[in-house]
């Protein structure tokens, strides 16, 4: 029999597809929430002409903020969904296959543990941010087009919308935010959850939360300080610059402020975080090899 070689990339591709088959919430959750956002937005549309008229009296920056607000909220809501799905996904990724014993089937196939765990890691690092990005852009385009139609139906010009909702600019910032912040900046959290998921005899979330909690408590009692807890909190709620600016955590996406994605990319926090992620990641790979079905 001709022994066709299969590239590592192809094995990774099928492993990622496998994850999407199993975890349909990866794309269904953002889509469902996008629909909910749209429904809420549509219900509020009857007041749009009046609101737009009132907004026209505002100063330029206020006008811009008022007009853009629903679009920014839509983006933030979808980001929150991205984070929520990512955390739940990671906690179950390497635990679920041991619990249902399917790991014995996957391991009977020529896919290395490295490829399998890498495929799982790409979900929160790349796939979810991209899916969320596309869902966000689609939602915002629909919002803008439908709003324009509503204004036109009321005999108003929609130019005020198109002038102030800079879709391409919002999309660019949103993309950077999702990929850099939700992908790479949060990588240590995802990798830690994957490690806990590969290790936990049961209740992976609990196993993920207890060790950091224990470290925090020990530090607090032993030295009276809270460096570890502060470190985790700062990393979770934003980059070094993000949290300081106007006291707003990184989760908010102020379209007016110069965006700190560039700062984030050169911040040591990101790179130290990625190094820590790599350690957790290879730990998860080793554990997947060593730990069998539950």
């Amino acid at each position: 029999m001709s022994d066709v070689e299969i590239s590592a990339a192809r094995r990774l591709y099928w492993s990622v597809r496998r994850e999407l088959w199993e975890n349909r919430s990866i794309y269904l959750a953002p889509l469902a929430v996008a629909c909910i956002v749209l429904v809420g937005f549509f219900i509020g549309l009857f007041a749009l002409p009046a609101r737009t008229r009132a907004a026209l009296a505002l100063s330029a920056p206020e006008l811009r903020e008022t007009i853009q607000q629903p679009y920014v909220i839509a983006a933030i809501v979808l980001m929150a969904v991205d984070l929520l799905v990512a955390l739940f996904y990671c906690a179950d990724a390497l635990y679920g296959e041991r619990r249902d014993r399917s790991v014995l089937f996957w391991k009977s196939l020529p896919v290395s543990d490295l490829t399998a765990v890498l495929a799982k890691a790409t979900i929160p690092l790349l796939v979810l941010p991209l899916v969320t990005f596309l869902a966000t852009v689609a939602t915002q385009v629909i919002m803008l087009v439908v709003s324009s139609a509503v204004l036109a139906a009321n005999g108003m010009s929609s130019s005020v919308l198109w002038a102030h909702v800079a879709l391409v600019e919002i999309a660019r910032i949103n993309f950077g935010h999702l990929v850099v912040f939700h992908g790479f900046w949060y990588a240590p959290f995802y990798a830690w959850l994957l490690l806990a998921s590969a290790w936990a005899p049961r209740l992976p979330f609990l196993w993920a939360v207890l060790p950091p909690l224990a470290v925090g408590i020990i530090e607090r009692i032993a030295s009276g300080t809270t460096h570890f807890a502060t470190l985790l909190q700062q990393h979770f709620f934003g980059g070094p610059d993000m949290s300081s600016e106007a006291g707003s955590p990184g989760m908010t996406m102020d379209m007016l402020a110069p965006h700190p994605i560039g700062h984030l990319l050169i911040s040591p926090g990101l790179w130290i975080g990625l190094a820590v992620s790599a350690v957790f990641f290879f730990g998860a790979v080793r554990l997947r090899r060593a730990r069998g079905a539950i």
Binding site: M1, D3, V4, E5, I6, R10, R11, Y13, W14, S15, R17, R18, W21, E22, E97, D100, R101, S102, V103, L104, F105, K107, S108, L109, P110, V111, S112, D113, T115, R289, A290, G292, A293
Partner: protein, 291 residues
């Protein structure tokens, strides 16, 4: 090159010794039955062979270390472990897509042809299939992989008699068709004995008997002894004795068939009877000094 070569293979879980330093030698083209009671260490030995578990001692499978080279070896080894392990959420078509996507030796057309003879539809999810159907699906996937070595651990556990028979018939037909090498562990000896070329009896982590079927035929004789000659027969040190209808059935190892023919009808013991004989002989021995 031997397909499986183990020397002093050992696996412990804490203080429990599952595999107690066994030697194995499986050549290409054999169908080896690994037979033993529950807890004999069969699964631990097989898991080491297919790379699912770490081990101590020397073990080479197709010339490789299964623990460090599992993914590479998986191209040439197929295995089915003792319970249904296909994920419940997967569709039949997805399972075939995935295996076709990652396995260079998977023949999808053949898998679909095998599935066509069952009632399994491509759109079905595994969770909607009966236990027998899930096993048939797994078997269809495995049979469509042109692997050099097939490792089966209690493949028919929990299946009804019809499925079990069909399973081994398919296995045998497939073996004859492409001369595979198979290692199958089971404690349901009657079902596999007609397909085996070799048997390995395992008990308490040790191999207690390792012979080819021809070897067994030449070496072991079962004699139906009339009660009158029972004392004479027992003097020849049978390895096992059981009561038949009007006759005692004694199994002898390494005796001259001509000599025992005088005692009664001589035949080759079934693997099952030999297994029972060997195991009950061992059961009489105290634990720990078993060889």
């Amino acid at each position: 090159m031997a397909y499986i070569e183990a020397r002093g293979l050992r696996k412990t879980y804490g203080a429990t010794v599952a595999v107690d330093g066994i030697d194995l030698h499986v050549e290409k083209g054999r169908i080896v039955g690994l037979i033993g009671p529950n807890g004999a260490g069969k699964t631990s030995a097989l898991n080491a062979i297919v790379g699912l578990t770490s081990f101590a001692g020397d073990l080479r499978v197709l010339g490789r270390d299964p623990w460090t080279e599992r993914a590479t070896l998986a191209r040439d080894i197929c295995f089915i472990t003792d319970v249904a392990v296909l994920p419940r959420w997967i569709r039949v078509s997805q399972a075939l897509d995935f295996v076709a996507g990652v396995h260079p030796r998977f023949d999808r057309v053949r898998a679909e042809a095998l599935l066509a003879t069952t009632g399994i539809r491509a759109r079905s999810k595994v969770r909607d299939l009966s236990k027998g159907m899930v096993t048939q699906l797994h078997l269809a996937i495995v049979m469509a992989i042109d692997a050099r070595l097939l490792v089966l651990d209690e493949p028919t556990l929990g299946l009804d008699l019809l499925y079990r028979k069909r399973f081994y018939d398919t296995l045998l037909a497939d073996y004859l068709e492409r001369s595979r090498t198979v290692l199958v562990a089971t404690h349901q000896v009657e079902e596999v004995q007609h397909v085996l070329t070799d048997v390995l009896f395992m008990d308490r982590g040790r191999i207690v008997l390792s012979r080819s079927i021809e070897d067994i035929e030449a070496r072991y004789h079962e004699v139906l002894v009339h009660p009158d000659r029972l004392a004479t027969a027992r003097a020849l040190n049978p390895i096992a004795e059981r009561q038949g209808v009007g006759r005692s059935v004694l199994i002898f190892e390494g005796v001259d068939p001509q000599q025992v023919a005088a005692l009664g009808e001589v035949r080759t013991p079934s693997v099952a009877d030999l297994f029972v004989g060997v195991m009950s002989g061992r059961a009489a021995q105290p634990q720990g000094v078993a060889q």
